[in-house]
Subunit: 156 residues, 2 copies
Amino acid sequence: MLMTEKLDKVDLQILRTLQENARLTTKELAAQVSLSSTPVFERLKRLEREGYIKKYIAVLDADKLNQGFVVFCNVKLRRMNKDIAMEFTRIIQNIPEVTECYNISGSYDYLLKIHAPNMKYYQEFIINVLGTIDSLGSLESMFVMDEVKHDYGLHI
Amino acid sequence: MLMTEKLDKVDLQILRTLQENARLTTKELAAQVSLSSTPVFERLKRLEREGYIKKYIAVLDADKLNQGFVVFCNVKLRRMNKDIAMEFTRIIQNIPEVTECYNISGSYDYLLKIHAPNMKYYQEFIINVLGTIDSLGSLESMFVMDEVKHDYGLHI
DNA sequence: TGTGAAAAGCATTAGGC
DNA sequence: GCCTAATGCTTTTCACA
């Protein structure tokens, strides 16, 4: 990774604003930072090119789309070694219900975030999908009762 | 919440596509679903209006923005009752390092996701910020060593 | 619902400070 | 770096199938 120049206040303001609303026009962004469209357009392209902006996404309503049953799942592997870990992470990539997976420190090896339509679906998912992964040792489900806070965006 | 009509295949395809790239033009979206711009534009407005699309965001690179030290933190309250829970969640809303907070089932009451620049910052954050919350009982940090998977988008 | 055409507005480039 | 001005697209509206 090449070292890139430091971001100035305007760059940071652009990033902050886009974290909140990625569909603003260049013109609207420009108004926010008190510049004309041209420099904002160029800065934006630079920020994309240099990887500060990874992608633009639409955040959907999980409840309305029948994916509102959310579970964090702690996973311990059968044994933590390279082959078993690689097998596990490879399989996880192809399970769409698992939307996030982190290798973490502590009593467990991985933390998964799982989206399902409901408890029944989740129970069957555990039995028929996660439970069949050979590299998996043990598993602990933490059901999300309430999403208290979800900032899409960093504190920059 | 009013009951809205069911989504058809085209609506779902639009949502799926926007989860991947929220900056596609109406025209590009239209090409994907083999329609002209007009109906796609109208469907999009409807999906926004009815709340299927909550917002559009730019996903930034946390490492490049000095927020790449990520920790999941299990929190147990001093006592789990309404007042204490409300106080805790109110405070959490105003801590920018805490990007996510879930009320969960299990041995702990809350699961937090925290972004920090580095371990030293995090340690001071625990002592000076989280540790000073009166409603907090105990705390367990799980450090993210690797983000194995992060799908921005639901399986729809 | 859909199409296609037209008006209004934006993104993008060029030329200059 | 920035600006303004010009261009070619896109979005958005409208008339109509």
